[in-house]
Symmetry: C2
Subunit: 235 residues, 2 copies
């Protein structure tokens, strides 16, 4: 996938028999590539803060500069890991800037500028090309505060209920269910990650049977899953 | 499911055609119930700390007492939410103590004392009853520091590679992959949660096609996914 590629057309060619109620989980990498969200390290002039952080954490100052430019708030910098809230409101390592799976050694890949917007465009394009009313999730691999390893989460979504809300509904014994807002979009992203391996070059996973998550309208997107700062106890 | 029930026998009766390489994701609730991990509120004498927290957070002091007894470290108490590290090393709301989906109004359900041990026993029991070499994940719904909604994670596991480690391996362009320890056991739990709804009374989900996650031996269990305190930047 190259900058300027029509990702909806590429997907429509590759996925046969797309049906109403299907969910496509699309890896952030191909979305970012098609949107030209790359920076060449050679074009970057690191500032003083980037040089300082790079020297403290044994990182490339140009890469740190790119990370800082993508960052709204640096939450932690520890042992070479920069935990950032990005301008998109996502909390993740290195502001989601990635050096792997790129064509050149000196190219960094950034998150889409507006991942929910990317998902809406993909959904509309696939609707036009295939006629199918599907849900689209854009996924990326994020770490967690208290657990090791990465899981895929939804950084963008369209036509998906990001949260399945069971609050106020009753359990099998007629008692009100507790704490039951399910982050459906994130679980869809995680499930899709199981269907491929990191070297399989399969950027799109089709999930069938989750019609209950697919909505008529684009909906609020994955940004609805971002915890507001005033509800964040761990900043 | 009642205290003392043989959960492996119940599952072996319910799941037909269990095969080598299958993964069973079992909801924590039925594991805890079968292990008798319940407390009656009427039997609890709240201490001073529980009374103080209960009054600050408009909670039942007896329930708070139970939560504190399950807690190794209280990380945050804010707006009625107690974020606890449990004696099992899990970080979650209310130490995983749950009042929903129970038979009586005054009964709290606790996490299994040793969820990896529970998973190992289930796996051995199912091996004996069915002959199949499967993986077992025990799942519960946890919140996340920076994202809204809950996702199911693995609180126990046996016969599962909890982490798929791609570090040092090459991507499609021969470059070393970055940050690629996939929390497989958590993604299996999340995927299973999609296959049921909160009111469907389906405590066990069978995942087929994930043979690459299933191991000969019980392995390290889901406790291998707990971030050690010295790597925790957000305590």
């Amino acid at each position: 996938v190259q900058a300027g590629d029509d990702l909806a057309a590429l997907i429509a060619d590759a996925v046969h028999d797309l049906r109403d109620g299907d969910v496509l989980v699309v890896a952030q990498k191909v979305v970012s590539k098609s949107e030209g969200r790359t920076r060449r390290l050679a074009d970057v002039q690191p500032g003083a803060r980037a040089q300082e952080l790079a020297s403290e954490h044994a990182k490339d100052a140009r890469l740190v500069q790119i990370v800082l430019e993508e960052t709204a708030e640096l939450l932690r910098a520890h042992h070479g890991v920069l935990i950032c809230e990005t301008h998109q409101g996502l909390v993740c390592a290195n502001a989601g800037v990635d050096m792997s799976n790129m064509s050149g050694p000196d190219v960094a890949l950034l998150l889409p500028e507006d991942p929910d917007g990317s998902a809406r465009r993909l959904r509309a394009g696939l609707r036009e090309l295939t006629g199918a009313r599907i849900g689209v999730v854009i996924s990326d691999s994020f770490g967690r505060a208290w657990r090791l390893g990465l899981t895929d989460v939804a950084i963008g979504a369209a036509g998906i209920d990001p949260v399945e809300d069971w609050r106020g509904r009753a359990d099998a014994h007629g008692r009100e269910l507790q704490a039951t807002e399910v982050a459906l979009a994130d679980e869809l992203a995680a499930a899709a990650d199981l269907a491929r391996t990191k070297d399989s070059q399969e950027p799109v996973v089709l999930i069938r049977g989750m019609e209950r998550a697919v909505t008529e309208h684009d909906g609020p997107g994955a940004s609805a899953l971002q915890r507001p700062r005033d509800l964040d106890l761990f900043r």
